[in-house]
């Protein structure tokens, strides 16, 4: 048996297992840790798919930055209070059943191979060889996809402004110190 199968099933099992923990566990800290584990397993799969750069970004941004943010907020707010932010789902069993049915149908189609996936282009072999290269990725990002790259900077700026605006203290909350003095 090919060793890569072993690794695939290992990482896939870790990812699915961790995902189930995120969805089922009662302790929010355990959920966060399981999510980190899943991010790493996915990063390993990205490596197997020849996407080294994305794997690195996955570890740095997801497992690093995003998870730190999550943990920070979880620890900042008493967890039992957060549990009170309750969503009332009256129809949730129905929704779960529908979701499971859709998944079953999707998996059936995937496994039976009835999807009729588009064949790779004529240059698939050549591009496939280059696809692992971070150099090729960077060249493409800074030429063909330069525009979305620039647009992403506006997106991040807007998100930053929004996050600061929502999370900062009001003037009355800091005891009479006006906003002018704070800024």
């Amino acid at each position: 048996m090919d060793l890569s199968f072993l690794f695939f099933y290992l990482f896939a099992a870790v990812a699915v297992g961790a995902a189930l923990v995120v969805v089922l566990n009662r302790n929010i800290l355990h959920c966060a840790m399981a999510l980190v584990l899943m991010f790493f397993a996915i990063a390993a799969l990205f490596l197997m798919l020849g996407a080294e750069f994305i794997a690195a970004v996955q570890v740095l941004v997801y497992a690093g930055a995003i998870m730190v943010l999550f943990l920070f907020v979880i620890l900042l707010i008493q967890i039992d209070r957060v549990q009170m932010l309750r969503f009332a789902h009256r129809q949730s069993p129905l929704v779960v059943i529908i979701a499971v049915l859709l998944l079953a149908e999707l998996l059936y189609m995937i496994i039976r191979g009835t999807l009729g996936i588009a064949p790779g282009g004529a240059d698939a072999a050549a591009a496939g060889a280059a696809s692992g290269s971070t150099e090729a990725f960077g060249a493409l990002l800074y030429t063909t996809y330069l525009f979305p790259f620039e647009v992403a900077s506006v997106l991040l700026l807007a998100a930053m402004i929004g996050a600061i605006l929502l999370a900062r203290l009001d003037k009355e909350e800091v005891g009479g110190v006006s906003r002018q003095d704070m800024s």
Binding site: L45, M84, L85, S131
Partner: protein
């Protein structure tokens, strides 16, 4: 060589687990985590398709998805803080938040 179908199946499973998580969890932070699960399912699908199609578009798309996920997490968690702060002084039992 692991086939495309393997990766697609994994992506579909992760996405579905995420959907179920969003619909059953009662805590805003946990719902946000479940959304991250969905996005990871999408990412693995895109990267698998990118290798199959033999171009890097899918990988570049994933880079932007990760960027957006970071931005969404920042805004979402800021909202959690804002909501929590507003609640702090209120009677928590009276929250009939978000009927949907």
């Amino acid at each position: 060589m692991i086939s495309l179908q393997h990766y697609l199946a994994l992506g579909a499973i992760l996405f579905a687990i995420g959907v179920v998580g969003v619909l059953t969890r009662r805590n805003a932070i946990l719902i946000l985590m479940a959304i991250e699960l969905m996005l990871n399912g999408v990412n693995i699908t895109l990267i698998a398709f990118a290798r199959h199609a033999g171009n890097l578009t899918g990988q570049i798309f994933v880079l932007f998805i990760i960027t957006v996920a970071a931005a969404e997490a920042a805004v979402g968690l800021a909202l959690v803080i804002a909501l929590f702060r507003g609640r702090d002084t209120l009677n928590v039992d009276e929250i009939h938040l978000l009927k949907w």
